[in-house]
């Protein structure tokens, strides 16, 4: 890629990246706490304040922070079954997002969607629980933006496992063919649930597949938020300039299980996973460079806790949906009972 698109990485931006990462981690830890709070002693996936499958994003914060730093709420983002980190980084309001995860009437979808189906019109954010199927709608959002002559872009986030789905390949081809302002972001967290990348993917890097569709592709190897930021800066600028789509694959880290309750017996490196946590690493880098102080980091953490606990309280204290309303919202006209 040409260096002309690069945005200088200032100390303010560095602190902002860490701040976003800390907010995400604080959020995921709080959701995990609430998720397990009433699933003791026996784990029942359907029980409790936060029922159902729960896919948390701890360890993948660099992807969200680095990519979304280049976006505004006018840009679209489609995410996966593991959506919280990119939702937060993209600016989805924490209160209605959390209320949706708690299945409350005040949630983004009035409790109809849940944690894998978060839709926020205010930030053009959505996610889908079906692997790779969030990519095609992102193409359509990008299509609508470019038809209106704007420089808005659509980012489609997916995992490395999804890069073996037909929807992924169809979307790359069509986006490149029509030069749509899309940025494809592949989060390679090494695992498709329990199947390692070596058991699913024929190429070392999905950047190679990008080349196969005639678009720039880059792989970020070390889960570095600054490297993601740089790559995303290039890709977003290229899309805004009408030069078409790009792909970024980030070798990131799934710090926790595929979903909560996953004992991860298939994971040989389990004992050392925490050593690769990107947040302490980046914090220490900034501390060592004098960009961050211990006090400012603690303030960052405290601020995150305040925001997250406010959202949790809001969700917990919100009304549950009226069961008689289960027929509403199928169609735009008629029964909103």
């Amino acid at each position: 890629m040409t260096p002309t698109h690069s945005q200088a990485l200032t100390d303010d931006i560095r602190r902002g990246l860490l701040d976003t990462m800390v907010l995400i981690r604080t959020y995921e830890e709080a959701i995990r706490r609430e998720y397990y709070a009433d699933k003791q002693p026996a784990f029942d996936i359907g029980a409790g304040l936060v029922p159902g499958e729960m896919h948390l994003s701890a360890g993948q914060e660099p992807v969200a922070a680095g990519v979304c730093a280049h976006l505004t709420g006018d840009d679209a983002l489609t995410a996966t079954h593991r959506p919280h980190h990119v939702a937060i980084a993209h600016g989805v309001a924490l209160r209605p997002m959390t209320a949706e995860i708690f299945g409350r009437e005040t949630g983004l979808g009035h409790g109809r969607g849940g944690h894998m189906h978060l839709f926020d019109p205010a930030t053009h954010f959505s996610c889908s629980g079906i692997i790779a199927e969030g990519l095609p709608p992102a193409l359509g959002q990008a299509f609508a933006f470019s038809r209106r002559g704007s420089d808005r872009v659509a980012v489609a986030v997916t995992g490395e496992g999804a890069a073996n789905q037909g929807a992924f390949h169809e979307s790359l081809n069509l986006a490149a063919l029509w030069k749509l302002p899309v940025v494809f972001v592949v989060e390679d967290n090494d695992w498709g649930i329990s199947v390692p990348r070596s058991g699913s993917t024929s190429v070392a890097s999905n950047a190679l597949r990008a080349a196969g569709y005639g678009m720039p592709g880059v792989r970020v190897e070390d889960n570095s938020v600054e490297a993601v930021y740089a790559a995303a800066g290039e890709a977003v600028a290229r899309a805004r300039a009408g030069e078409g789509p790009s792909l970024i694959e980030v070798h990131t880290l799934r710090l926790w299980g595929h979903f909560e309750g996953d004992a991860e017996g298939y994971r040989p490196e389990l004992a050392t996973v925490a050593e690769h946590d990107p947040i302490p690493r980046y914090r220490d880098t900034l501390l060592a460079a004098g960009i961050l102080t211990t006090e400012s980091y603690e303030a960052m953490q405290a601020s995150a806790v305040t925001k997250v606990e406010d959202a949790i309280d809001f969700a917990r204290n919100s009304a549950t949906p009226d069961p008689l309303g289960h027929l509403g919202y199928v169609f735009s006209e008629g029964a909103h009972t």
Partner: protein, 352 residues
């Protein structure tokens, strides 16, 4: 994204007099699309061979000459990608009309259709709308084999969140297409090849008929009495409407009065119209070119039975038995709901 409180944008006449100008069903669909595109920049058409070819079954003939390749877009053979693209564009306020060349091809793209297009409005608690039309060709009768001859409307209608319309004639095709583009909900518009008025396929004589020149709406969810009668009710749709009318005309000479109810929409299903007709005749025949089991024919019968089972003096289904559509003409016509099978069903019903 679309404003969830936005009202319907235009007040158009509903089912005006047909007048005397005659069009084929294909031309009526093209006209509905063109008239909407004239008035609304957000409407565009996308699909395989919808451009210079004009749609394999002529649903888009002449549109690219008029609106150009920026609004009539030929796509790669990537149904998942381009149907999903339509969804995303609709979410952002455009009004895409996307063609899936054959309904039979839904197998390569159903996730976008039933998990995304149909569910986003519900999952978002009504905050995101998907005003999109997915039009697709259905039906057999011309030896296209098991993968290019299916109707499959019962499959789409079974899955919540999409309206399903199935016109049988030019007038309804135009009005239903205009309604489909206008509604803020996703609509599957299923046109039977045998009613399009194509020059290269056996034509039904009613596939060219009077159509008003102005824009108008045929309401989605309202059945139409195609022929009034008192002895037997045939509930049907698409090409089978015409077979049923042919049978009704023939049997009139024998003093058998057949009512033919053209459903026009499967979702919403006009259950009231079905019950009203059966309450009058007591004899129900469902004629359906879709597979018999677990589908439309059972649903229609259930609509009456749940309302009042004593209305049903006799019940018959004339549908495709649960086999793939065969290739050889003789075999295919053994499974299709032919006029001969419909006539036999009426005679049987009259014997009860």
């Amino acid at each position: 994204m679309t404003d969830a409180s936005s009202p319907r944008r235009l007040a158009l006449p509903t089912e005006p007099a047909a007048g005397s100008r005659r069009l084929s069903t294909a031309k009526a669909m093209q006209e509905a699309i063109a008239q909407r595109m004239d008035r609304d920049d957000s409407v565009f058409v996308m699909g395989e061979d919808v451009g210079p070819y004009g749609g394999i079954f002529s649903s888009t003939s002449g549109l690219i000459e008029r609106f150009g390749p920026d609004r009539i877009l030929d796509t790669p053979i990537s149904e998942t990608a381009f149907i999903g693209l339509g969804i995303g564009a609709a979410v952002e306020g455009m009004r895409p009309i996307v063609e899936l060349m054959f309904a039979d091809f839904f197998g390569v793209c159903m996730d976008q259709i039933y998990n995304h297009m149909a569910k986003i409005h519900y999952e978002s608690g009504g905050n995101v709308r998907v005003p999109m039309v997915l039009m697709t060709a259905t039906g057999g009768g011309y030896s296209d084999g098991a993968q290019h001859s299916q109707c499959l409307w019962g499959t789409f209608a079974h899955l919540p969140g999409m309206k399903v319309v199935v016109p049988s004639n030019p007038y309804d095709a135009k009005g239903l297409m205009t309604s489909a583009i206008e509604t803020d909900d996703p609509v599957i518009f299923m046109f039977h090849k045998g009613i399009m008025g194509l020059g290269w396929m056996k034509k039904n004589r009613r596939s060219v008929a009077a159509v008003p020149e102005e824009e108008y709406l045929v309401p989605i969810g309202k059945a139409r009495i195609a022929r009034a009668g008192t002895d037997v009710t045939i509930v049907t749709l698409a090409l089978s409407v015409h077979h049923s009318l042919d049978v009704a005309e023939k049997l009139e000479a024998e003093g058998i009065s057949v009512e033919v109810l053209d459903l026009r929409s499967l979702v919403p299903l006009d259950r009231e119209a079905i019950v009203r007709s059966v309450a009058k005749t007591g004899r129900l025949i469902v004629v359906d070119e879709d597979y018999q089991s677990f589908g439309l024919s059972g649903e229609v019968i259930a609509a009456v039975a749940e309302h009042d089972p004593t209305l049903l003096r006799s019940v018959t289904r004339v549908a495709v038995p649960d086999v793939p559509i065969p290739y050889a003409h003789q075999l295919e016509y053994a499974v299709l709901p032919t006029p001969a099978r419909i006539e036999a069903a009426v005679r049987d019903a009259m014997a009860t």
